[in-house]
Assembly symmetry: C2
Homo-oligomer: 305 residues x 2
């Protein structure tokens, strides 16, 4: 099941791993989402349009890489990983709505509401969130108690308290206001961090990790999640919309506080690198088999899109 | 646990049952939703504003009345019932948005986006949907396999295929178009019927109903759900906004097909009454203890708000 020996002495080819696993995630997503032809077709087209828009699949791949450390069963791991991508995609669709961030470009294409209209975009987001829990509740060969634990974990991370929706609220409320580093961390630990942390924990839970391993992996997920957001802020200022596949320079234009604005580009890069090192140390404490997680942490801060 | 002996010879006081059970549902909802003071407070205020706006609590009460037939454990039954009300409330918040039905009045108060703004209303709906699954995944003293079955049941009914979101899509697409009775049934079996059917099934599943009972109760839920929507259409034409707590005459104004328009007020009332009789027969076939479900079916078509 493991495509790459994660404890081999040779460096793990993280780029190749991402290519292989994202293809596998796409196959499973295609299987798990309603067919386009299934009526009402319009909403299924909208759900698939945003899902298959070429995302990095970071969250499902983190879940998969973590699950593979514990030789998790693919038939339980892949659906859970895909459920995380459905939630991520729903949050992007709603975040891009005119009443929210009002963005017209995402993953290199016009956003869902630009193509399908606002009403359909709201419903497509709702439907992806719902489909995520439907997927998580389907028989998966995992023990039912552990399966319930995974559902509770995902629902918590997608919720309001130190979680995805709460982070979006804090983010909206902070627009145009001067905020400090502590507050910025709080926003992004919730908005981006909670689901990334959750992805690692879901992989660990599906794989049957022990408590000690789960604690270290949770720390890995928290550090990697924050590093991801800091790297995102830097990319937002240093890259073009074409490179990013989404509107660059948006945060600065909206007068939003960012890590780049708060610490400068160099300072933000330094902090991301420090978090990346700490994430790698946590991964090492979790397992000697966690080489891929180390590589993914590096990828998170070194990527250019 | 059963407040009213449902197999007594005396008619069951359905009004009193609704008062008692909706108070109990409100207590549990209060316990299950994040506190208003919990940061970020604004979203919790918005979630609670729309949840505690004085709805009839039909869906949770249907789940409770059905569960009580089988002496379901209250600690498992009430959270599941409340999860259904969270989903119903989320669907109302999103349905009322400017991009959707654009309605300013619901349950006798200004709608969520009127009070909290569109962004917060979108997120409050998302959060109630998420909280619903979080509630369903929490330990409830139900066997984990049955609990997973309940989650799958709710996710299916809240989804797109012959379900809540799919019904909203069909409804939006039918605006201003001539449609026939078959199509109108299809819309409302999905938009309103799926969650009402689900409420009955969830109550039966939590109570441990057998397959034969579940089949009859499902039929009851389907018939009662459609009767509810037909009665709603009649009320939309014959009542004031004040009586309804929502904008009356809206469907006619938006040139939407309704049962009242298609069959006339008298014809629609007759169809609702026939469905009510069929629902009652199905409830009788399910159990001799289903007197309350019979009364609820009558209430559904005879109510005036």
């Amino acid at each position: 099941m493991r495509a790459f020996p994660s404890n081999s002495a040779a460096p793990v080819a993280v780029g190749e791993y991402f290519r292989q696993k994202s293809a596998q995630v796409d196959e499973w997503l295609d299987r798990l989402l309603p067919r386009e032809a299934e009526p009402p077709a319009e909403i299924h087209r909208a759900m698939r349009y945003s899902t298959f828009a070429g995302g990095k699949r970071l969250r499902p791949i983190l879940a998969i890489a973590t699950g593979e450390i514990f030789d998790a069963d693919e038939r339980a791991l892949l659906p859970a990983a895909c459920a995380l991508e459905m939630i991520h995609t729903y949050s992007l669709i709603h975040d891009d709505l005119p009443a929210m961030d009002d963005d017209g470009l995402r993953r290199g294409r016009p956003t869902c509401h630009v193509v399908f209209g606002e009403a359909m975009a709201i419903l497509a987001g709702d439907a992806l969130l719902t489909q995520s829990f439907r997927t998580l509740a389907e028989p998966a060969g995992l023990g039912p108690e552990r399966q319930l634990q995974v559902i509770a974990e995902v629902a918590q991370a997608a919720g309001t308290v130190r979680a995805l929706i709460g982070g979006q609220v804090l983010d909206l409320q902070s627009e145009g206001k001067p905020i400090d580093g502590g507050r910025l961390d709080e926003i992004h630990r919730a908005k981006t961090g909670a689901l990334i942390r959750c992805a690692v924990r879901v992989g660990a839970l599906v794989g049957g990790a022990g408590e000690r391993e789960l604690a270290h992996l949770t720390e890995y997920g928290e550090k990697a999640g924050l590093a991801f957001q800091i790297a995102d802020d830097v990319l937002d200022e240093t890259s073009t919309s074409e490179q990013l596949g989404k509107t660059a320079g948006k945060d600065a234009a909206k007068n939003k506080a960012t890590y780049a604005a708060l610490y400068g580009i160099a300072g933000a890069r330094e902090r991301a690198a420090a978090l990346c090192r700490e994430a790698i140390e946590a991964a090492r404490r979790a397992s000697r088999e966690a080489r891929l997680l180390e590589e993914i942490a590096r990828f998170i801060v070194e990527r250019n899109s």
